[in-house]
Symmetry: C2
Subunit: 478 residues, 2 copies
């Protein structure tokens, strides 16, 4: 293993007097004496103090922002404020140059747009690297929560023939020569010549396959990429994003909501502890950013306060009909302030309605359940009223829908009716229906969009800045 | 949360006398008295003992293999052999029927081919569910190892414009209407009309992007799906499989090998402990299966012995040239037993050569390093001899290559020469070259195929049986 130390460990262990080797990229070089370097292991730099006389001018001139160096020295108690230790440098080696005129990531504020164009280098900034460290720790917390709670992690297929879920537009996957698409006698595309012998797409959800696994393994979850070929150029949409989809046999809707709430709280609390420094930094960043906004657009709570609020308070739970009545009778609706007026029971709530419920009315995360059957997917369990289904959405302040889930329809005849009435081809779902023929049981699950959760925890404004290399319409660079 | 208990917890906690509720699928129903059920939480069933007189005939007739039931009762010490506890049933509810004439998964031996055709139900079998539980625990161990060792988990893109890696044939991703492919004036395909505005593919590796992240965040790893559109209908190839790719700044090749070896040992040992029952079961299964084979085709070691062997022994490390000489001078080569005779230095080793080294010559996992530059990728670091590169492959008994890695070329001029000499378009790699322009450092990484590691730990013979829904040529069912 390498003989250098990582800055994270040095700062945590504070072994004053120890001789060490450390490598990193130069952040700043001040007064020909203080070199701050970062190696990516944590948010903090370490300060390396050099004795000017020991180094020639040529070497010193190469110590520029972005250059990489290797330092031998001794850990000493720091003289400066804000650092607990620093390194007294005995020996310094330049590893790689970084010409100041060409290196894009200079020690100044860059716009997020600019950093996106330099996504291959933006992990060297404090903000983006903090977000990506949090992304990593969130992911780990997700695996840890499910592992500790007897869930099995399953990998559902990315390439799929199924398009029954209807969750959105899909990307085609093919090895056909686009210049010479083979045709059948009826002038249809001859997919029998394609790699999989059928028309295939990128998955929009692993749910249906996860159900099959849950009905053998009990409690399972997916954690993988999902895709939407929708032309949505917003700060909330990606064409490729990561989703977590637990699915539990023998769980009813209330169990499902209980699980989702405790899961989200666990993950947020885990990250709050593990990434304290990053969250402090991002909370300050956001507060500073909001200082330039008009008072009424600033957040009432700081990022840290919002995180604590979610961990400490029960989510509000309300059924669709009650939520509908609140919205119908609320001031903004009566005054015609909603772009989409709330009139008829059965409408799908729009972002403005969800935000009103969460940010104005309840000032809390809200779980809305028992939605009208007509606006929800075929697999959701029909209630006794025949009008609503056992669906649930969890709405978060500033983010909107962060979780969508349901109890699944386990009754074969009702499921078949729903499939028929929605005009879906039953043949394609033969195996999904099989699950209701052989030892069918009540079961439930939900989907959580990883990037939306990261947006909440980091306070970032654009979803493109919380994934290393975002995929959006007209953009698949890097 | 639901008020039923999970069988895993019941068997672990052994709370004799406790009143509980348990749900599951019927495995067997013997003597009108003993119902074995499994809920997927672990490999073991729990035996539910009913008092025949308390239930009417109609109810009893519905308790068939694959049906689902809910049982209330009391935990009692088991009378039978092989179980530590059983449930004395007070109340039994049939949840879902399973008609014996139609349910495919009857309590008898099914061929793996048959189970693949019923992949939606095969997680209800002991063998497949054991494999999938092991898959889950392997995945968790991977995340735990990296998290505990200060690595950050990164999600590299699945849809990519890059095809420079040359790791294999690729799937196209498109939203173009295949019946009306738009054309440019030159009769080329007009990809500017496509979703991403460019020709895009499914990734074959996240390595290049992982390098960009490592050169900001220090130590990172990917864990995600990768794709090969190769028409390989073998028991070792999938079109869609999961890969783990760590990438470490400031690591040289030896550090890289050290890491890979300790990583693999950690994961195998973790799973050996966490999935002891599953591995015992699969080890016995394999031994039984091999009993029907001729003596000389049986494994010298049982599955459990193989696992222990890998954990306890150092991997053999040998450079390509030494390995080449062993192969050139070995008996099978001299006697013309190899399909591909070993004659000239510079050849790529074939499966038969790797197996000879691992299974016959060293009888150990083997790390081969410093391969001829000509047979390896452009990004591998050129040695002083100008003929070999700092590549390494780890070869496993029965599996072949399980890890492929290298120290990456960090010197801009040499990298540019390699790209040129391999006929790759430099423009496409502008950002990858940038990483060598700004604070370039030595770095290394490797890729490990998840499914191959599962094959090793489970002793399964076909890679299609270690992933829930395999994707292979002409097959994307479910």
């Amino acid at each position: 293993m390498p003989n250098h130390s990582e800055i994270k460990n040095l700062l945590e262990n504070r072994e004053i007097g120890k001789k060490i080797v450390v490598c990193g990229w130069v952040k700043t070089f001040r007064s020909n004496r203080f070199i701050n370097i970062n190696d990516g292991s944590c948010i903090d730099d370490i300060q390396c103090v050099i004795d000017l006389d020991s180094f020639n001018k040529e070497t010193l001139s190469k110590i520029t922002t972005g250059s990489s160096i290797r330092v031998k020295g001794q850990i000493v108690e720091s003289q400066g404020r804000g650092q607990n230790i620093e390194i007294h440098v005995d020996n310094l080696e330049i590893l790689g140059l970084s010409h100041p005129d060409n290196y894009p990531i200079q020690p100044k504020k860059h716009s997020f747009e600019f950093l996106r164009e330099n996504a291959h280098l933006r992990a060297r900034t404090k903000t983006i690297s903090s977000v990506l460290r949090i992304r990593s720790k969130i992911s780990y917390a997700i695996h840890k929560f499910f592992n500790d709670n007897n869930f099995y992690y399953i990998h559902t297929p990315i390439v799929t023939v199924s398009d029954a879920e209807g969750a959105g537009e899909m990307f085609k996957v093919t090895t056909l020569d686009l210049k010479k698409i083979p045709q059948t006698e009826n002038n249809d595309i001859d997919f029998s010549k394609d790699f999989f012998g059928k028309e295939t797409n990128l998955t929009v959800s692993g749910q249906l396959e996860a159900e099959a696994m849950a009905l053998g393994m009990g409690k399972v979850y997916t954690f993988g990429p999902t895709f939407r070929a929708e032309n949505s150029n917003t700060s909330r949409h990606l064409a490729e994003f990561w989703m977590i989809e637990p699915e539990m046999a023998f769980y009813e809707l209330t169990d499902n909501i209980d699980l989702a709430e405790s899961f989200i709280k666990y993950v947020i609390e885990y990250v709050k502890i593990e990434c304290e420094n990053e969250i402090n930094f991002l909370s300050e960043r956001l507060t500073k950013e909001e200082q330039s906004m008009p008072q009424n657009q600033r957040s009432e709570l700081s990022l840290k306060e919002r995180i604590n609020f979610v961990i400490k308070n029960d989510f509000v739970r309300i059924n669709y009909t009650d939520a509908f009545n609140i919205l119908k009778n609320c001031k903004p609706n009566k005054k015609g302030k909603f772009k989409f007026p709330v009139k008829e029971w059965g409408i799908d709530f729009q972002s403005e309605h969800e935000r009103f419920l969460v940010e104005k009315h309840f000032k809390s995360p809200v779980v809305v359940f028992d939605y009208p059957a007509k606006i929800k997917a075929f697999y959701m369990r029909l209630n006794e009223d025949k009008k609503t289904v056992r669906a649930m959405d969890i709405l978060f302040p500033g983010i909107g829908e962060i979780v969508g889930g349901s109890q699944r329809e386990e009754r074969l005849d009702i499921l078949e009716n729903r499939i028929k009435s929605m005009g879906i081809d039953k043949k394609e779902l033969w195996w999904y229906l099989d699950l209701r023929k052989f030892g069918s049981v009540k079961h439930s699950g939900f989907g959580l969009g990883l990037e939306r959760l990261i947006l909440f925890i980091t306070g970032m404004g654009n979803i493109r800045d919380v994934i290393p290399f975002p995929r959006t319409p007209k953009n698949a660079d890097f």
